[in-house]
């Protein structure tokens, strides 16, 4: 698990400075300058926010909306931001809450639109359907992986591997998934994940342990296949 690196500390200091400047400009009524300064923060955290939202929602369009909403909400409530807390932690919490609200709304929608949700490749169930039925999801974003010098066979294997990992991740319970994504995709420490999710630090560790164990079990078949295909010296225990 990644610790707090000097680069991260420097980035957080820069964030805190920018956030304070935006707050001051907002208070002074210099809104255009405030927006311009806030654009720096958006640019710095946009990709990370998009990753988190995408892995929460498993839908690019919805993740896009969730990221936009989170940035707008953070700008509106920047006055309530305390400088002693890192901006990225505060912002990520807003984003995660927004994603959870969207998941709840989607669940409600799907409960009422049961015949639609049963369709293969319907939103939210694509990865699960792929994992359980073996049917390809309707919107497979891994199809857009650039080949970049790989042979067609390698590219195909890469796509298959990503699809398997995404399906396995989608099979995890919501909390395990979010803890795993924050820890291993975003490289957060247990303490940071605890601050982001509002869970106890020991609870985060338990969820993370269970998530890893379950992923390992779900991807065990792929591991064996990969092990058989690769030479022993280059063996990489990926699915």
């Amino acid at each position: 698990m990644a610790g707090t690196s000097p680069a991260l500390v420097a980035a957080r200091e820069a964030d805190a400075g920018a956030a304070s400047a935006v707050k001051a400009l907002q208070a002074a009524g210099q809104l255009e300058d405030a927006r311009e300064r806030y654009a720096e923060l958006v640019k710095r955290h946009q990709r990370r926010a998009a990753r988190i939202a995408y892995h929460y929602l498993r839908d690019a369009a919805e993740a896009d909306e969730a990221v936009q909403d989170a940035f707008v909400k953070a700008y509106q409530h920047l006055a309530s931001f305390r400088e002693e807390l890192p901006f990225d932690v505060w912002f990520t919490r807003i984003l995660i809450n927004g994603c959870l609200d969207r998941i709840k709304a989607r669940t409600r929608r799907e409960r009422w639109l049961l015949p639609m949700s049963g369709r293969p490749g319907s939103r939210g169930s694509a990865a699960t359907a792929a994992a359980t039925d073996g049917a390809p999801p309707e919107r497979d974003l891994t199809d857009r992986v650039p080949a970049g010098g790989l042979s067609p066979e390698q590219a195909l294997l890469g796509r298959e591997r990503r699809r398997a990992i995404a399906a396995a991740l989608a099979n995890l319970p919501e909390r395990q998934r979010s803890v795993f994504v924050l820890s291993h995709v975003e490289g957060r420490t247990s303490k940071e994940v605890s601050a982001l999710t509002g869970l106890n630090e020991s609870t985060v560790r338990v969820h993370l342990f269970r998530a890893i164990r379950k992923l390992r079990a779900l991807l065990a078949g792929d591991n064996a296949a990969a092990g058989a295909a690769e030479p022993k010296g280059q063996r990489r225990v990926t699915s």
């Binding site: 707008v72 891994t142 291993h184 164990r213």
Partner: protein, 195 residues
């Protein structure tokens, strides 16, 4: 049984690797056993591989041009926050009717309501309907009497020696409106008696 005891007995399992990885703990067995150390390293590589695959998947879903577009949309939304909401009048005619001086409109409504209530109350207290009926009857009688008399004069036959009885019988035999009007003038009216 402690973790150390369990780990000390044999090679570490996947689950134990996960436990060690999650806790961020080191174990002497990993230093002593090259096989477990290799297994643990492979486990770590697998985990980081999964992480990088997931990162790559999300980055493919959000290429640079999409992020730029998203940034522009965020900027637009932030700008829109500072502008007051603009209400488009639709339909145009409805606005003309609805809008206007609401103060005047309110007073007109109140006056109309008050007039209605006052009229109703007055109608209950004062028998205005009876008065109106009487007034119209008197007016009718006032205006019809001279006309009827003149018409009767025109229509009556030239004077003769006949008596009034003969005139009456003649009138009944030839029912004409003007004649009947004259007769009506002579007879008492029920409404007059009721008074």
């Amino acid at each position: 049984m402690s973790l150390l005891d369990r780990l000390g007995r044999g090679h570490l399992s996947d689950s134990q690797f996960a436990e060690l990885w999650t806790a961020g703990a080191a174990h002497p067995h990993l230093d002593a056993c090259p096989q477990c150390r290799a297994g643990y390293e492979a486990f770590g590589a697998w985990l980081s591989g999964v992480g990088s695959e997931l990162r790559a998947e999300a980055d493919d879903a959000f290429p640079a041009d999409r992020l730029a577009l998203q940034q522009a949309q965020i900027a637009r939304r932030l700008e829109a926050l500072e502008r007051p909401a603009r209400v488009i009048p639709f339909p145009r005619a409805a606005r003309a009717i609805i809008s206007g001086n609401s103060h005047v409109r309110r007073w007109v409504s109140v006056a109309a309501g008050a007039a209605l209530i006052a009229g109703f109350g007055l109608g209950q207290v004062y028998p205005i309907r009876t008065v109106l009926r009487e007034g119209s009857a008197q007016t009718t009688a006032h205006f019809t009497a001279p006309v009827a008399a003149s018409r009767a004069r025109d229509l009556t036959p030239p004077p003769s020696n006949e008596t009034d009885d003969e005139m009456l019988s003649d009138a009944f035999a030839q029912p004409r409106v003007s004649t009947l009007s004259a007769l009506d003038e002579m007879t008492p009216h029920a409404r007059d008696l009721a008074k």
